[in-house]
């Protein structure tokens, strides 16, 4: 069980209102990801749920019971911190056993659960090492181990992978996803990595300045962003935005088209421009196309290698059905 409901939650630090009134419902077993620009309040929101900060007003309910006033220990939530926050003076075994010890489990039960967690996380060989003797990925697993032994109502993750190098990140991402499949426990996951958000989430919560911009499944956000902010935030490289006559022609204040939804041709197409910087990644090439008169620069993605040189004239054609339209307030026009 692990349904989390925030109603009219606000948070002020001194005079600054970091979270304006906010409602959010996370269902049991769901994998919810919070994304948003740096400083938008992702960590704060997570810490409010954990009980590490007091809400200024509003209520937080866990499984239907009000948990607003409870100390963190009483909320049956487990948290995995960005720095893992392992206890450096305890062996892996002791680290994992710590929450059980605090909950006054008997030793036999503690041993049983630690063994079980170690097995799930492939930590059997390291149980007697100290955190300092582990690699980043192993530490990460210990932190998760410590979280799962208590069989919490939900897991909270605050950018757990941001300290790992790229290769490891991919591996751990898969592991966490698998864990979620296996345990089917609610997870709330903070990240600012696009790929993590898109690949792991059942539900993405996009935040800006403490406000929720959109909540939905990853592809829903990708395909039907509710407003300009979400449209620009989700997807990499960014969506191209066009205002003015071209947008007006489609009955919108702004239209948006993703780089992968534009096709390119040396001879004909809807928009004409010249090639600026091009970035060749081998698998793809990104062209920054200038002088279209629509936007300062448009990004276009092509698969594989297309040889165009700086200054070449090209024509762009958007896939009409993939064009997003927004009104003057930046809201999607359905």
């Amino acid at each position: 069980m692990g349904q989390i409901t925030l109603s009219k939650v606000t948070k002020k630090f001194g005079e600054v209102e970091v979270i304006p009134p906010l409602d959010l419902e996370i269902n049991d077993g769901e994998f919810a990801v919070f994304v948003g620009p740096s400083g938008c309040g992702k960590s704060t929101l997570l810490r409010l749920i954990a009980g590490l900060e007091d809400v200024t007003s509003g209520t937080i309910a866990i499984d239907g019971t009000d948990a607003t006033g409870l100390v963190p220990a009483k909320r049956r939530l487990a948290m995995v911190f960005q720095s893992y926050a392992l206890y450096p003076h305890m062996s892996v075994r002791k680290n994992i056993a710590f929450p059980l010890k605090m909950a006054k489990f008997d030793q036999a039960e503690i041993d049983r659960r630690v063994e079980a967690a170690a097995k799930v996380l492939n930590l059997g060989d390291y149980l007697d090492r100290r955190p300092g003797q582990l690699s980043g990925g192993q530490r990460q697993r210990v932190a998760i181990g410590r979280a799962i032994v208590r069989e919490p109502a939900a897991f909270l993750f605050d950018e757990p992978l941001s300290n790992l190098d790229a290769a490891l990140r991919v591996g751990m991402r898969l592991e966490i996803s698998e864990l979620h499949n296996r345990l089917a426990t609610t997870m709330i996951y903070v990240t600012h990595d696009q790929v993590e958000a898109m690949t792991m989430a059942d539900k993405i919560v996009v935040l800006q300045a403490g406000r929720i911009e959109q909540v939905g499944a990853p592809l829903e956000l990708y395909e039907r962003p509710r407003n300009l902010f979400v449209a620009g935030f989700i997807g990499s490289p960014k969506m191209n935005f066009i205002t003015g006559a071209e947008a007006a022609r489609l009955g919108a204040h702004t239209i948006g088209i993703r780089p992968e939804h534009i096709s390119i041709s040396p001879s004909e197409g809807a928009w004409k421009g010249t090639v600026g910087v091009s970035e060749h990644l081998g698998s793809d090439t990104f062209f920054h196309v200038m002088g279209t008169g629509l936007a300062e620069s448009m990004t276009v993605r092509t698969s594989g290698e297309v040889s165009l040189r700086h200054g070449d004239t090209i024509f762009l054609t958007p896939q009409e059905d993939k064009i997003h339209r927004f009104d003057a307030d930046g809201m999607r026009i359905a």
């Binding site: 009980g51 590490l52 900060e53 007091d54 100390v71």
Partner: protein, 290 residues
């Protein structure tokens, strides 16, 4: 971090220390203030009548007071100067690759562990004594008349002794600070064309600023109340040449058993110490934040 629970806990946890120190400050201090208005000499029992500010007047107009004030500043300043400059040089030396670094470090740190009384006794008798001391012998073997340190340079001698005790402290802090200097910063300066001296002036010295402040703060705390070294070596003399405030108050209250006068002196010393403290706190507060 800051929930209602943790803030409440925080207040609870800090209160024993705060209350104890408050008590430590207030109880004896208020007694001292009270005594300072009395005509109270330990040797003359009976009524201790209230005499207003007379004790303060006598203490402040004591010709030794100004000398003591100046001596206190010279003593603190002198020791600080020697220990920070000497400590920096020593730290630079010890930071070099040398053989037997461990042993050298052990030798250098040793004076810090020596009781002030012992070090004063040893310096006074076995080194500075012009007849039997080693310095006297060195002077004589060089064909010079032995120099009577404690008579002719009493304050300087005390400064030397105290500096000897505190040099290891500053050396160690500065050495640790030196070792914490980001080597990339040094390399960057090297790439930027800075020679060894420029690197020292522009990179090392500013880097040590924070450590130096701490050295100054901690040492000042201890140096303001230097006492044993003076008592053992010069008794504040000759004349009042090496009397500092602490010693003057001591002389007043414990040599003369004038509790009233001594208390007035103590209060004045407390006030002066607090002026120094405020000054220092300003400085360190700024530097420790940066």
């Amino acid at each position: 971090m800051a929930t209602k629970h943790s803030r409440a806990a925080s207040r609870l946890m800090i209160s024993p220390a705060v209350l104890l120190l408050l008590g430590w400050m207030i109880v004896p201090l208020s007694m001292t203030i009270y005594f300072s208005f009395l005509n109270y000499n330990l040797l003359m029992p009976g009524a201790h009548n209230f005499i207003g500010f007379d004790n303060y007047k006598y203490f402040l107009t004591d010709p030794a007071f100004t000398t003591a004030l100046i001596n206190t500043l010279v003593l603190v300043g002198g020791v600080l100067l020697i220990t920070t400059v000497g400590g920096t040089l020593l730290a630079l030396l010890l930071d070099q690759p040398i053989w037997g670094q461990g042993i050298v470090r052990v030798l250098v740190i040793a004076p810090f562990f020596v009781m002030p009384t012992v070090s004063a006794l040893v310096w006074k008798n076995m080194f500075m004594n012009p007849v039997n001391g080693l310095f006297g012998w060195i002077a004589t073997s060089l064909g010079l008349p032995p120099f009577d340190f404690l008579a002719h340079a009493p304050l300087f001698s005390v400064i030397m002794i105290v500096a000897w005790q505190w040099l290891p402290f500053s050396t160690l802090i500065l050495l640790t600070a030196l070792q914490s200097l980001d080597s990339e910063q040094m390399e960057a300066a090297e790439m930027d064309g800075a020679g060894a001296i420029s690197r020292f002036v522009y990179i090392t010295v500013p880097h040590l600023a924070r450590a130096t402040t701490v050295v100054i703060l901690i040492q000042t705390i201890f140096l303001l109340s230097v006492f044993a070294e003076i008592l053992v070596t010069t008794n504040g003399g000759p004349g009042t040449a090496s009397t500092n405030l602490t010693y003057l108050v001591y002389a007043q209250s414990l040599l003369q058993f004038d509790v009233g006068g001594g208390s007035a002196g103590g209060i004045i010393a407390v006030i002066l110490a607090n002026i120094v403290a405020i000054f220092l706190m300003r400085m360190i507060g700024k530097n420790l934040d940066a």
